[in-house]
């Protein structure tokens, strides 16, 4: 595939606007993952280091190449061989469902983008025989789906995701502390949020997760307008999450706003990195591969550490 063809391919499958136009979150997630992986020239399902650990029962959809025929010959039941790296990775997707995630300056809100990211990653995780769990939260944990590596698990995840709507205030730090206590064993926690809130509080929660030996990827989803602040006309900015309204001339305030906002982003990034947390800033107008790449890079690092 030429460079141009690849770029076109990526655009076709990873453009959030294009993907969002597809019907159903499942199809969207699959399209993203398939598109992303096919562009990488290698399959995620093969060539990884494998060390047999245990069997598990076959479920429809499993690759029959992994069926252990010796076991079948003895028991007349279908069991699949499971390998170490496929069984030990437990990924938890924490999706921020607060009101601030509903903002959108374009066709896709931050929440829609984040949901698509979670769906795609869940699909990818399950395809890699890993376990995927999901947490929806705002100022508290709204919904908790335990991690599972069953391929059918994706349906539940997608159902939960599709039924979620952003509303309410955010208390990220509180949620992080709560979830850090609830998670069992070491997990890979992928927090998909705009992280709008008190940075110190958030980082405290993150610190708690790290203390519990969880790996954390912080995927900060922001709208392009929140970064660029491109407004010109006199505007009444109506605050979300119970913040007061502001009537101002946005061009006069642009520079000051950007200073404040970028300061917030930098503090969060530095805080994450200093705590060994992978930090990815993703704009809703950017391609979806960034999230997938960030996840795979984190997964690889985790495997290499073993």
């Amino acid at each position: 595939m030429t460079q141009e063809a690849y770029v076109e391919h990526i655009r076709k499958y990873l453009d959030p606007k294009t993907v969002a136009s597809l019907a159903g979150l499942g199809l969207q997630a699959r399209t993203v993952v398939e598109g992303y992986l096919s562009g990488m020239h290698r399959s995620p399902y093969h060539g990884v280091s494998v060390e047999f650990v245990q069997h598990r029962e076959y479920v429809p959809g499993d690759d029959i190449r992994h069926v252990d025929w010796k076991v079948w010959s003895r028991t007349d039941k279908y069991y699949l061989k499971q390998y170490e790296e496929e069984t030990n990775l437990r990924a938890y997707f924490w999706l921020d469902c607060s009101e601030s995630m509903s903002y959108s300056s374009g066709p896709i809100s931050k929440f829609q983008y984040a949901r698509l990211v979670v769906a795609a990653l869940s699909y990818l995780v399950l395809q890699q025989q890993d376990s995927a769990g999901l947490v929806l939260f705002d100022e508290s944990v709204r919904q908790y789906v335990r991690a599972s590596n069953q391929p059918s698990h994706i349906k539940q995840l997608l159902h939960v995701l599709e039924s979620a709507e952003p509303s309410g205030k955010t208390k990220l730090g509180t949620c992080f502390h709560e979830l850090a206590e609830r998670l069992e064993g070491r997990s890979l926690v992928i927090v998909v949020s705009d992280f709008f809130g008190d940075v110190d509080d958030i980082l405290s929660g993150v610190q708690h997760l790290r203390h519990k030996r969880h790996d954390v990827i912080a995927m900060q989803i922001v709208d392009g307008a929140e970064v660029d602040f491109p407004f010109r006309d006199s505007t009444l900015f109506e605050g979300m999450e119970e913040l007061p309204d502001v009537l101002t001339d946005p061009r006069a305030l642009r520079a000051a706003y950007q200073r404040e906002f970028h300061g917030f982003l930098r503090r969060l990034e530095r805080g994450c990195r200093s705590r060994g947390v992978d930090y990815v800033l993703i704009r809703t107008d950017s391609l979806l591969d960034k999230a997938l790449s960030a996840y795979l890079a984190a997964r690889n690092r985790r495997l290499q550490r073993r």
Partner: protein, 726 residues
């Protein structure tokens, strides 16, 4: 004109009304207030950081908005102020105006500018305006002043000039009694502009727009091309719109050809009412040599011309100063006329008798002498002529200068020296009548008098025609349709017997056609040959009588027409040359050269000027004097050793009395392709009370425009930097 000294920061506006436009300066404030009420709503997630930014920047934003608002308000305010044309009298602020202008002021000094209404003449008004224009000058400006008299002259060449010096020059200017040489003035203006480095040119023509001033001469396209459309021509009308009634004395003339002390002279003044209303009881007075001698009162209908006759008696010979003065009206300069008349005591006629006889009426000159003084036996003083008969032998020794006319009556022949003497006498203004007869040697006459490079008359005497003894042929006179003024009185008077005169012999004469000699036929014979010819030679006149002056060849002397023809002929030949001494204003006074005289002291007393004294090299050329811009008498005294006073009369041109004016459209037609602005005098600044005058000295609209431009740039930069919408 008052001389006010305004304070240092004395501001004013030429267009005060436009200052209402300052209300527009409220527009930015209004827009600002309205924009506070018009906004869009947006639900915003990152409100926390917006609030933080607002908290830190609220004061700065407010300040910046106020600054922008102030700049925008000032921008409109400055533009409005500039349009209202602010000014400051003080040079301290006037230097802010960067343009350098060369102003050339052309002052119409024609007679019609002497119209005076309300105690101030148009010319005085124009001088006042010129002073105002002079005071407009700022440092670096140029000023030139041209007086459009005839010929036009540069009063102040400029361009560098001190205002005070210019005002002093202006104050010394006087209206002339002549026409204006407008074309010449514009030509001078073009030359002055061409030599100036000032980029901006303004040509002010201060005029009453009198028609003859503008239409007497065509303004050459080359002059207009030289001025160019880049020259702003401002025609300032000082004439006003009121119709001006005017009575003018068109001329004063001597009715008689002769002015002698022996007889009173008849003079006639011609008056015209150039207004549109009748005038009752207009008085005119004749003043002779400074003494009022008669007054007449006439009524004049609109457009009517009336002649008023006077009788003037001259007590002493010499130049007589006649003036007719009418009652003054709005244009007093055309209510007077002057006439200079050189009067003789009597006309002295020297008859050189070529056929003297002792018997009565046998000599050649007997009939002539009697015809010149028919009442001599009764009262010799009654005749203006005094005839003196001398034999031809005396000719060479006589001083001819006392005589007004020399008659060569049937003189046989002349020597070369006699001919030269006669030639010099006529050239200097004497007059000669040659009569022929049996004694005349035609070849000698042809040789010494009528041939060569310098003939007294360009004629050739031929053979005698007819036989006076046998009287075989009779020749009658042909009056040639009475065209010549000498025989004009005989027209329609058959009883005068002019045509029944019988001539039996005459000398055939062939008239040449040499250039420079005009020979006029007075009478001819019915054979077609000339009977009486007259012509000019030098300053004098020459006549030729081709038959005898006595009754040898003709019966004319005994016919009634003889006396009037002789008297009219002599009057014609010796006629007073009034035209030479009576000139139009602006014409050059000249006196012919006098051979052999060097460095003659000349004193000239001309009206409106100081007496001029000069040395005149009379042998080298004529004397000229051109300071003739004012009507009246010019006295030119030459000598000693030749103590002689010549009196010239200067009269204004009659065209100037017609006060018909042009309108602005006609001016544009006369100045095609020029950038002409027509303004009334009230629109032009005069004196310190006038806003225009003050404005011109320190117009500030350009600095305000520049300031507005700077504000505009500042506002753009600031708005761009602050991210403010325009």
């Amino acid at each position: 004109m008052s001389q006010l000294h305004p304070p240092l920061l004395a501001f004013g506006f030429l267009n005060n009304t436009l200052l209402w436009g300052a209300i527009l300066a409220g527009i930015p404030i209004l827009i600002h207030l309205l924009s506070k009420r018009r906004y869009r709503r947006l639900r915003w997630a990152a409100q926390e950081w917006l609030l933080a930014a607002l908290k830190k920047s609220a004061r700065r934003i407010k300040l910046e908005q106020l600054l922008l608002l102030a700049l925008r308000t000032l921008l409109i305010l400055f533009v409005v102020i500039a349009i209202a044309r602010p000014y400051s009298e003080r040079p301290a602020l006037a230097v802010l105006a960067p343009r350098r202008t060369h102003r050339v002021v052309v002052l119409d000094a024609s007679l019609s500018m002497g119209v005076s209404l309300g105690g101030v003449s148009r010319f005085e008004r124009a001088v006042e305006l010129a002073g105002a224009i002079a005071r407009m000058s700022r440092r670096g400006d140029g000023l030139s002043i041209i007086l459009a008299q005839r010929p036009a002259r540069v009063v102040i060449p400029g361009p560098d000039v001190q205002t005070e010096a210019a005002l002093a020059e202006l104050a010394a200017l006087r209206v002339t009694h002549g026409q204006a040489d407008l074309a010449g003035a514009l030509n001078l203006a073009a030359q002055l502009f061409a030599s100036s480095r000032n980029p901006n040119r303004e040509l002010y023509i201060l005029t009453d727009l009198q028609r003859s001033t503008w239409t007497a001469q065509e303004i050459a396209p080359s002059i207009l091309a030289e001025l160019g459309p880049e020259t702003a021509v401002i025609v300032v009308d000082v004439g006003g719109e009121v119709e001006v009634p005017n009575i003018a004395i068109l001329d004063l003339r001597l009715d008689d050809r002769l002015a002698v002390t022996a007889r009173p002279a008849s003079v006639t003044a011609r008056l015209r009412n150039l207004g549109s209303k009748p005038f009752q009881g207009y008085g005119v007075t004749l003043i002779v040599n400074g003494r009022s001698v008669a007054r007449r009162v006439v009524d004049l209908d609109p457009g009517a011309t009336v002649e008023v006759n006077f009788e003037a008696t001259f007590t002493e010979p010499g130049f007589q100063r006649l003036k007719v003065a009418g009652d003054e009206d709005v244009l007093p300069l055309d209510n007077s006329r002057w006439l200079s008349v050189p009067a003789r005591e009597r006309v002295r006629v020297l008859c050189i008798d070529g056929e003297p006889m002792s018997e009565p009426f046998a000599s050649e000159c007997d009939y002539l002498a009697l015809a010149l003084s028919p009442t001599a036996e009764l009262d010799p003083q009654l005749s203006p002529f005094l005839a003196e008969v001398r034999p031809e032998a005396d000719l060479i020794d006589l001083d001819l200068s006392p005589y007004d006319l020399v008659v060569l009556a049937n003189v046989g022949q002349l020597t070369e020296s006699e001919a030269s003497k006669l030639r010099a006498y006529v050239r200097a203004g004497g007059n000669l009548l040659v009569t022929l007869g049996s004694q005349v040697n035609a070849d000698n006459y042809n040789e010494v008098l009528f041939s060569g490079d310098d003939p007294l008359l360009p004629v050739v005497l031929g053979p005698k025609v007819g036989d006076p003894v046998e009287k075989t042929s009779v020749f009658r006179l042909d009056p040639l349709e009475y065209r010549h003024p000498i025989v004009k009185p005989f027209e329609g008077a058959p009883a005068a017997t002019l045509l029944s005169t019988m001539t039996y012999a005459y000398q055939k004469v062939r008239v040449g056609e040499e250039k420079g000699h005009d020979v006029n036929w007075v009478l001819a014979f019915d054979s077609g040959d000339p009977a009486v010819l007259v012509g000019k030679y030098g300053e004098g006149d020459v006549g030729l009588w081709t038959t005898s002056i006595d009754d040898d060849w003709t019966t004319w002397p005994v016919w009634p027409s003889y006396v009037p023809v002789i008297q009219e002929l002599v009057r014609y030949l010796v006629a007073t040359d009034v035209g030479r001494w009576n000139l139009q204003v602006g014409e050059v006074v000249s006196i012919p050269s006098v051979a052999g005289l060097l460095d003659l002291p000349v004193t000239v007393a001309a009206p409106g000027r100081q007496t001029v004294e000069r040395l005149w090299d009379a042998a080298r050329g004529p004397f000229h004097f051109d300071g003739t811009q004012v009507g009246g008498f010019v006295e030119v005294t030459v000598g000693p050793p030749v103590a002689q006073t010549y009196v010239f009369a200067l009269n204004p041109p009659v065209e100037e009395s017609d006060l018909t004016r042009l309108d602005s459209a006609e001016i544009n037609r006369l100045l095609p392709g020029m950038n002409v602005r027509y303004v009334r005098d009230v629109d032009v600044s005069v004196g310190d009370d006038s806003p225009q005058a003050r404005a011109r000295t320190g117009e500030l609209h350009r600095p305000f425009l520049y300031a507005a431009l700077v504000i505009l740039v500042l506002e753009s930069l600031l708005a761009c930097r602050l991210g403010q919408p325009r």
